[in-house]
C-alpha cells in the first residue's frame, strides 16, 4: 500500500503530467478523477466497449500518458469526485456511493474547465447545448446532436465543431463568431503566435472544410434568441458591434433544430475557494482564479493549482503547469528545499515552455474574451439560473431590494443553490447584477462555494 504524499485532483493534461512528474521524483501519488476514464476533456476516450479502427494522433499522445501513470507510485482512483476540501488539506471524496477521506501532505488541483454559456431568450429549450456537449456526442459516441445545426459563440473551437459535424454528415447551417478580432489579425506581427504553427494549420484546415461544404462563417454575429415551443425550431441572429452588443435592425432568422453555444471556457475553481486560496480577477482567463506563483503554489500552504482549472490557457500550458506543480510538490513533501538551485535547474526548461504558452494564452485572451454586450442579450423572462428556474425579473427585484453582490442575490432568489451549484449561472448572474446595479463585474464578486460542491444523497452523506 503506497503512502499518499500528494493528492492530485483531476486526470486531464495537467493532472496526468503532474502525477508523472511527482512520481518520477519518488512521491506517492493519489490521482483522483471524477470520470470513468482518465484524460479529461482534451484526451476524452471512447468507451472501452467500442472498437476503434485507427488511433488519431491525439489519441496516441493520450495513450502514451495513460501508460506512464500505470506504476506503483501512482494510485489512480476513477469515478471519484472530491466534494470538500479545507485549508489543512483534509479532502473528502465519493466513489460509487462510498465515502472516502484523505489528508495528504500536498494537493494539486487540476480540475479543468467547461464551456462558458451565455443566456438569451430560449436558451433552455431542448436542442440548445454547449459546443463541448456536441463534440462529446459525435466524437465519443458517434451520435449526431441534430440534423440542422447552428453554432454560435467565440473561439477556434467553433471551427473545430463545424468541421467535425461536416465530417459526421450533419448539415451545419452557419457558424457565428461573436468576436471580430480575427478580421484585423496579422499572424506575422504577433509574438504569441510563434511556436503555434500546428494550431494555425489546424484552424486553417477546419476553415477550408467549412468553405468546401458551403457553411457560412460570420464574424461579428451572435444569437439573439432560440425559437420553438417544446424544442429548438429556429434562431434569430444579429450582427454584433465590437463590444458584442446587438446591432438593431440586423436580425435574421435561421431554421435549425440544434444550437451549439460556447463563449470560451470557465475554470472549475470551487475547490480552491473552499480551501481558502486567495482569488484574483482575470477576465481573459475565465474570471476569478486562484492567485499562484511560478511553482503553481496558491496562498494555502501545500495547495497547488495547475492547468485550465486555475485559469484558461489550453492543453500546452496545462501540461507545463502540471509538470511544474508535480515537480515542486514532490520537493516539498520530501523535505527538500524549494528555494535551492536543484529545483531551479529542474524547472528551468519547464519555465521556458510555460513562458511560450503564456504568450499564446495572452493572445487568445485578447482575441476572444467576451465583450460587455454578452450580458445584454437577455430579456425579463429569460431564465438566469436553470436549476432553480430563477428568471431575470427575480434577479432585478433582488437588486432593487438592495442585493448588490452575487451571494446576496443568491440568498434572496435561490439562484446558484441548485444541483449545479452555480457552475452554469454563476458568471451570468454576476454579469446581470453588474449591469442592473451599475457596478463592475469584478465588484459584485462570485458565488461562494459550500460543501458538497456537487449533490450527495442523504444516504451517501451518512455513509450508508
Amino acid at each position: 500500500m503506497v503512502e499518499i504524499d500528494i493528492a492530485i485532483i483531476g486526470a486531464g493534461p495537467a493532472g496526468l503530467n503532474a502525477a508523472v512528474a511527482a512520481a518520477d521524483l519518488g512521491a506517492g501519488v493519489a490521482l483522483i478523477d471524477g470520470y470513468e476514464y482518465p484524460g479529461g476533456q482534451y484526451f476524452r476516450q471512447f468507451p472501452q466497449e467500442f472498437r476503434v479502427s485507427r488511433l488519431t494522433d491525439r489519441y496516441k499522445q493520450a495513450e502514451d500518458l495513460f501508460a506512464q501513470i500505470r506504476r506503483p507510485e501512482i494510485t489512480y482512483r476513477q469515478n471519484s469526485q472530491v466534494w470538500n476540501i479545507d485549508s489543512d488539506l483534509n479532502l473528502d471524496f465519493i466513489e460509487s456511493s462510498a465515502l472516502g477521506h484523505l489528508k495528504p501532505k500536498a494537493v494539486i488541483l487540476a480540475t479543468g474547465a467547461y464551456d462558458r454559456p451565455a443566456a438569451f431568450p430560449g436558451w433552455t429549450l431542448p436542442g440548445v447545448m454547449t459546443v463541448g456537449a456536441a463534440q462529446i456526442l459525435v466524437k465519443a459516441q458517434r451520435v449526431l446532436p441534430g440534423r440542422k445545426i447552428l453554432i454560435a459563440g467565440s473561439g477556434p473551437i467553433l471551427l473545430a465543431l463545424g468541421a467535425l459535424l461536416v465530417w459526421a454528415g450533419a448539415e451545419v447551417v452557419a457558424v457565428l463568431e461573436a468576436s471580430q478580432a480575427m478580421k484585423r489579425f496579422n499572424p506575422l506581427s504577433v509574438s504569441g503566435i510563434w511556436g503555434q504553427s500546428d494550431r494555425l494549420k489546424e484552424g486553417w484546415e477546419f476553415l477550408r472544410t467549412l468553405r468546401k461544404a458551403n457553411v457560412p462563417y460570420r464574424q461579428g454575429w451572435g444569437i439573439r434568441r432560440a425559437l420553438g415551443v417544446d424544442a429548438v425550431q429556429g434562431a434569430a441572429c444579429t450582427r454584433l458591434d465590437q463590444h458584442w452588443r446587438p446591432i438593431p435592425g440586423s436580425e435574421e432568422q435561421i431554421t435549425c433544430d440544434t444550437i451549439c453555444i460556447g463563449y470560451g471556457f470557465l475554470p472549475k475553481t470551487a475547490l480552491s475557494c473552499l480551501a481558502g486560496a486567495a482569488q484574483i480577477y482575470r477576465p481573459e482567463q475565465g474570471g476569478w482564479v486562484p492567485r499562484r506563483d511560478n511553482m503553481m503554489r496558491t496562498t494555502i500552504p501545500g495547495l497547488y493549482a495547475a492547468g485550465d482549472g486555475a485559469g484558461i490557457g489550453g492543453a500546452g500550458l496545462s501540461a507545463a503547469e502540471g509538470r511544474i506543480a508535480g515537480t515542486a510538490a514532490a520537493y516539498e513533501v520530501s523535505g527538500k528545499s524549494q528555494n535551492g538551485p536543484d529545483l531551479e535547474k529542474l524547472l528551468a526548461g519547464l519555465w521556458k515552455t510555460w513562458d511560450s504558452e503564456k504568450k499564446f494564452q495572452k493572445l487568445f485572451g485578447e482575441l476572444y474574451t467576451p465583450g460587455p454586450g454578452i450580458d445584454e442579450w437577455v430579456d425579463g423572462e429569460t431564465i438566469i439560473c436553470r436549476c432553480e428556474r430563477v428568471d431575470l425579473k427575480a434577479v432585478d427585484q433582488a437588486v432593487r431590494m438592495g442585493a448588490s453582490n452575487v451571494d446576496a442575490v443568491k440568498g434572496l432568489t435561490r439562484a446558484g443553490m441548485g444541483a449545479c451549484q452555480g457552475h452554469i449561472c454563476g458568471r451570468i448572474l454576476a454579469g446581470q447584477i453588474a449591469r442592473l446595479s451599475g457596478r463592475g463585474v469584478k465588484e459584485v464578486g462570485s458565488l461562494s462555494p459550500r460543501p458538497p460542491v456537487q449533490p450527495l444523497s442523504i444516504g451517501e452523506a451518512a455513509g450508508s
Binding site: Q48, L125, P126, M129, L137, V143, V166
Partner: protein, 105 residues
Amino acid sequence: MRFEPSNPNLPQVKRGSPITLWIDGRKIAAFSGETIAAVLFAEGLRLYRHQEGKTAVSLGGYFCGMGVCYGCLVSVDGLRRRACLTQVKDGMIVYTQPSGYGGSG
C-alpha cells in the same frame, strides 16, 4: 441519430455488444458503451423532466454533456443519475419524466 462516418478524418468505430433497456416504459435496443444521453438522442428524445403548464421552457435536457450542469438528470433503476455520464446496461430501467417515477421534478 447514430451515424457511421464515411469521412477519413473520423475513425470508424464498432459499438459494443447489443443490449436492451427500458426507457419511459418502452423496450429500446442500444449498445454497450453508449451513454443514456446518446441513446436518448438516437431515439429522438430531448425533453427531460417536462412540467405541464410551463410554456416554452423545459425543466431539463442535455446541455453541457460533461456532468457539470445536472440538466440531464434521469431516473436510473430508481436513482437519479446524469444521463451524459451513465452508461447503459442490459435491463436498465430509465425514466426521463417525473411521472414515470413519482417525482415532481
